[in-house]
Symmetry: C2
Subunit: 293 residues, 2 copies
């Protein structure tokens, strides 16, 4: 077992991270690469992935040849889509074994080391995941258009909707609506043109502004943040109903939104035992133990 | 003045209608043509428009030569966008005069013959428009993504969002959520694939189903319809605040949603004096009186 190498990979839409450990768990090296949401072009994803992996190998004083000793686990955005995983693996892989799961699953594995519990990810999107006795469920996380309550994208889009209300006179203007409408020269045609080209991350960039204004007691900011927190709390409460004894928060918006969450959810928040990269390493170890290829 | 001809055109996304009257207001003929949202290809729009116009001319026993005697007015979806109007008129027009306004403006002109009042259009989209002393304002109507509260598209999208809640167990399932989820084989991946391709009209096709279930006291149906009606009522109340003494409803969803509107809005609902085609004819007459080209 001492010759075994375990590689954990965290594949996101903007970058890819890798961590190499030996069988005893000793850290051997880390690396980073480019975008690796596995819905992207497989060529691009493999390039990002191997860049991160080779950097980790080099830090460990290991070589290309050692790739075949590696048992790899990857948590990747987009891995819920079976066809995307199959496309990525259609030309094989250089590892001794390679297990792919969603980024939610590896974050959860790291957070609870496979034990009972749930995670709530809040960034540009939002997603709940967890359960008991290894039986996990997703709650939300089906994308910006009809899901992802409380996410940065949802907050930004709701902001622009309510700025139109303020512009029309349907609600009172506030410093927040004034600031946003001024960005668009108080011209809703310009705003609508922007919306026509906006992606979830573009909406999400407004979330910090909304949070700032809410902290300053801007009524519009407070209304939007309260709605977002209510949506997230509903996800959290469902995770608790499914039997999770604790919830770990992940994602760039989880810390600022945490004090706004419903007390029954807040009381269950725990620190993760390990991060998603170690969750991915655990994924690889579990697959090896279970004798999967 | 007796030789003058007035043509009213109603240009929508799916079809174009035209009505021809003489200076005394006598109906001479009507016609229909294809899609004429003026954001579409100008060639296509002119084709739809002239098809409708020639049919009206033929009914009146008139000919191609008479086009140049016609003072035309058109209310068109998309006419709020100046560049689209300019593109349509870039190669001139065959009429003695041609005035283009939004479909909301001609509906309003018809409804109140240019007097004080407001309209509320509720179809796939939603929009409020009206005012006093000829000073009109839009309230809402900035599109499905960040506006159009209470519209068919908004109702359908909210339905799918809440069906995910029911699927996750965040809310109780109801006959409505069961029926919709069954359409997608209870598989959220199939639902999300559908959403990826859905246009506002696709979401809007769920509105009648939601209304049916609400009338049967389905809790999910009621919650969605109440939200939609609250959004529309907020638009209506703003129109009243702007001085409109009455509101005329237009669009396929306005009748079923009417009983759900807030009583202060419901009490002001009036029947339109004339339709949008006669509003477009009035637009042409007013332009001629004011000596516009």
């Amino acid at each position: 077992m001492t010759d075994l190498l375990f590689l954990g990979i965290d594949g996101g839409g903007t970058k890819c991270r890798a961590r190499l450990r030996d069988a005893k768990g000793t850290l051997l090296g880390e690396g980073t690469g480019g975008p690796s949401n596995i819905r992207l072009d497989p060529e691009l994803v493999w390039n990002s992935l191997l860049t991160a992996c080779r950097e980790a190998l080099a830090q460990a004083g290991l070589h290309e040849d050692d790739l075949k000793r590696i048992h790899a686990g990857m948590g990747a955005a987009g891995a819920g889509q079976t066809s995307a995983v199959e496309r990525l693996l259609s030309r094989g892989h250089p590892f001794a074994s390679f297990e792919i799961e969603t980024d939610a699953h590896t974050a959860w594995l790291g957070a609870f080391k496979g034990g009972d519990g749930a995670i709530l990810i809040v960034g540009t999107g939002s997603c709940g995941y967890g359960g008991t006795s290894g039986q996990c469920h997703y709650v939300g996380g089906w994308g910006y258009e009809i899901s992802d309550e409380g996410s940065g994208a949802a907050i930004g889009r709701e902001l622009l909707r309510r700025c139109i209300w303020a512009h029309d006179g349907r609600i009172a203007a506030t410093p927040l609506s004034d600031a946003v409408l001024a960005e668009f020269k108080n011209d809703l045609e310009i705003l609508v043109d922007w919306v026509g080209k906006a992606r979830p991350a573009d909406y999400g960039r407004y979330a910090p502004l909304v949070l700032q204004h809410a902290e300053r007691r801007d009524p519009l900011g407070i209304a939007i943040v309260e709605d977002a927190a209510a949506g997230l709390s509903a996800i959290g409460m469902r995770l608790l109903d499914l039997g999770a004894p604790a919830i770990c928060l992940f994602g760039g918006l989880s810390e600022p939104l945490r004090p706004w969450l419903s007390p029954p959810v807040q009381r269950t928040i725990a620190e993760p035992m390990a991060d998603a990269l170690d969750g991915a390493i655990l994924l690889a170890r579990m697959a090896l133990q279970e004798g999967r290829p």
